[in-house]
Symmetry: C2
Subunit: 376 residues, 2 copies
C-alpha cells in the first residue's frame, strides 16, 4: 500500500557496523502531528529539538546507531544544522523538519558522514521505499516492523523499531505512523493517548526506559475525526508494540500478564509491571518452571494492598493459586503450557473490577550475551 503524498528514502552513511542507518520521510503536503516521548529525565536531543518546531511538518529524518542523547546543547545545535541543509535540498521551510534517533547514548552525531549522505538520501525519495526506510531505523532488531491498514478511504502506515537495548548502548523504541487522512489535532490527541496506553505502554522487555523513546503520528490538518481512524490507529499501534516484544532481546517466549479484580486500574498496573520486570519470574519462564511462588513474591512486592485469601492465579487455564494457597495443580500440564512460545498468566485479586495487562518476555542466556558483549 502506498500513499501518494508520502515518500521514503534510506541510505547508509556509516554509523552502524552495517546496513542503512539514515532514513528520510518527505511529506508532499505540510502535515500536522502528535508526539509522545520518553518519560526518562534525560531526553535525547531530537526530543528537545522537535518540541520547538511549530509549523507543519514536511520531513522526518531518522538517524540510527547514534542516539544523540546526553550530548548537551551541542546535540540540539547539530540538528539545527541538519535541518538547515535538508530544507535547502528539499526546498522547504527550515522549521518543518522533525528528527528521531536511536543508538549509542552519550556520543555526538557524526555530522560529516550525515551531511555527506543527505543529497543521495533526498534523491532516493519514492513512494515505494517504505521497507528500506523501516530497515534503516533498525539497530540490532532482528526483523523489520511495518503494519499497514486500509479501511475504505482510510490508509494508515506504521513503522517501528525496538527490541530492548540490543547492541550495548543501543537503546530505544521508535515508532512512526502516517496517514493522509485529514483530522483535527485537538480532537485526535486523546485518541492518540488512548492508543498509546493500549500499545507501547503495555510492553516490557527489560524494564529499562530509554532517553530516546519516540512515537510520532503524522496526518493532514482537518477539522474533524474521520470515522474509524481511532480504531485503525489503536490496532496498528497495538500490533507494532507486539512486534517489538516478539523481537525482544534474547526472547524465547512472549508472556501476556493479565491482572484483574483490582480496586483501581493503577493498582492492577503496578502489579502487572512488577511481575513483568522480576528477573526471577522471567528466568522461571525461560526455564518453563511452574514456579508459582515467585509470581506470588513479586505480587507481594508491588506495594498494592490485597487479600492473599482471595487471590487466584492461572497459568493458561490451569488454576495454580486459590484460597491463599497453591492448588495441587498438574505440574507436568503447567510445564507444558510454559513450554509454549506464548501463554497467559492471569492474576485475579477478587477485590474489584479494574484490570491491566502487559506483554513481557522471558530472561535468557541470550539476553545476557547480547547485553554483556563489548561494543565492536
Amino acid at each position: 500500500m502506498e500513499v501518494p503524498s508520502i515518500l521514503f528514502s534510506a541510505v547508509r552513511c556509516g554509523i552502524k557496523a552495517k546496513g542503512p542507518d539514515l532514513g528520510l520521510v518527505f511529506f508532499g503536503d505540510g502535515m500536522d502531528w502528535l508526539a509522545a516521548y520518553t518519560r526518562n529525565r534525560i531526553k535525547a536531543a531530537h526530543i528537545l529539538y522537535n518540541r520547538r518546531v511549530r509549523g507543519p511538518a514536511r520531513a522526518l529524518l531518522v538517524v540510527s546507531g547514534c542516539a544523540n542523547a546526553f550530548t548537551g546543547k551541542e546535540g540540539v545545535e547539530d540538528l539545527g544544522l541538519l535541518s538547515k541543509r535538508l530544507s535547502e535540498l528539499l526546498s522547504i521551510e527550515e522549521q518543518s523538519v522533525l528528527f528521531a534517533s536511536t543508538g549509542v547514548i552519550g556520543k555526538r552525531l557524526p555530522m560529516d558522514k550525515i551531511m555527506g549522505a543527505l543529497p543521495s538520501l533526498v534523491r532516493g525519495l519514492s513512494q515505494g521505499r517504505l521497507e528500506a526506510f523501516a530497515d534503516s531505523i533498525m539497530t540490532t532488531d532482528t526483523r523489520r516492523k511495518i503494519v499497514v491498514r486500509e479501511d475504505g478511504a482510510l490508509r494508515l502506515l506504521g513503522v517501528a523499531k525496538g527490541a530492548g537495548m540490543i547492541d550495548p548502548r543501543f537503546a530505544t523504541m521508535l515508532s512512526f505512523l502516517f496517514t493522509d487522512c485529514a483530522a483535527d489535532r485537538k480532537a485526535l490527541k486523546p485518541i492518540f493517548k488512548e492508543a498509546l496506553k493500549g500499545s507501547f505502554e503495555r510492553i516490557s522487555v527489560d524494564g529499562d526506559l530509554s532517553p530516546n523513546d519516540t512515537v510520532l503520528f503524522f496526518f493532514r490538518r482537518g477539522d474533524s475525526i474521520p470515522m474509524g481512524l481511532g480504531d485503525v490507529l489503536a490496532s496498528v499501534m497495538r500490533e507494532l508494540a507486539y512486534l517489538i516484544v516478539r523481537d525482544g532481546e534474547g526472547r524465547t517466549k512472549v508472556v501476556h500478564v493479565v491482572v484483574r479484580g483490582a480496586r483501581r486500574s493503577s493498582q492492577a498496573e503496578r502489579i502487572a509491571r512488577r511481575i513483568a520486570r522480576s528477573p526471577l519470574v522471567k528466568t522461571a519462564f525461560f526455564g518453563s518452571d511452574p514456579n508459582v511462588g515467585r509470581i506470588v513474591a513479586a505480587l507481594g512486592d508491588a506495594e498494592v494492598p490485597f487479600d492473599p485469601q482471595r487471590l487466584e492465579i492461572m497459568i493458561g487455564r490451569e488454576i495454580v493459586v486459590r484460597d491463599g494457597k497453591e492448588t495441587r495443580f498438574d505440574e507436568e500440564g503447567v510445564r507444558g503450557i510454559l513450554q509454549q512460545e506464548e501463554f497467559e498468566v492471569t492474576i485475579d485479586l477478587n477485590h474489584g473490577k479494574e484490570s491491566f495487562d502487559i506483554y513481557t518476555t522471558d530472561l535468557s542466556y541470550e539476553y545476557v550475551r547480547i547485553n554483556a558483549s563489548y561494543r565492536s
Copy 2:
C-alpha cells in the same frame, strides 16, 4: 569464640536435596529480642507466628528448604505444633520458641520429617556447634556466613544466609545475631534500625524481595545499652550483608554504587537502587563494558529531578561524565577498572549534601542458569 549460655545444633531431616536442613539455637537464659521482617505483603508463616510471641525467647528453630510462605493459617498452626513439641523436649515454656524458614514458597512444612528429627536436634545442642548451625540454614549459598566480634566484655555472634533466590523457588535472606550482653530493648531499637539501614538494606542481587526475609537480634534483658554495642552490632551486620552480596547468584563482581550531592537522602537512595537493579547496567558490568550511557539512562529513570549539566559520574577514580556530557575518558583504563572483582561507581548530582550507597552484583549467564534450571 563461644558464649556459654547459647547452644547450637543442626541435623538433616531430609527437606533439602542434601546437607543439614534443621537448625536450633537454645538460650540458657530467657532472651529479649528485636526483629526485622520483609516488607513483602506476603509474609512467611514464621513472621506471623513470631509476632504473637510475647515472653522471653528460649529457642530458635530454623527450617531450610521450605519457606512455609503462602501456606495460609495452616502454615502458622504447624509452627504451633512444633513449638509445643520443642518446649516439651527442652522443658521450657511453650510460648518461648521463635522460628525462621527459607526455601520453596507455597509448600507446607513436611511435619513428619521435622517432628521425627527434633529429639536428635535437641540432643545435639552444644556451645561449639555454631558452624553446623550456620551450615544448616544455607539453601544453595556457596559459603557459610558467620561473623564474630569480641570487644572487652562484649561478645556478638552473627550468622546469615542468602544469595538472592538460588534454587528455583528458594528465596530469602535470614540473619541471626546473638549476644549475652544485657541491654534495654527500647533503647536498642533505634540502634538496631540504624544498623539495618546500614547493612541489609544496602544490598541488592536481583531486586526481588522475598516473603521470608528475617533478621533477629537476641540479647539479655537489661536497663541500659552497653558501651560499644551499637558499633559492634552495626559492624557485624554490615559484614554479614557484604558476605551475602559476595555470594550473590552468579556474581562475578561486586559493585559499590555511591550517590552523593542529593538534596534528600531518599532521592539518593532511589537513584542508587534504580541503577543497582537495571539489567542493562548489570550486564554491562558483567561484560566490563564502559557503557556510561546505560548508567545515565537508569539515573534518568529514577523519578528524581536533577540537572544533567551538574551531573558527575566516576568509575573508580576516572571521571566519565561531567558538564552534562560524557568526558573523553580513557576507555581501556575504565575497562580495566570494570574488569576488577570489586569497584565503585560514584554519581554526584551536585545539588545538595545527602548521599546513599548500595552494594550490587553483575548479571551473568550463571544467574540465568541458576534461576532457570528446573527443580530437581
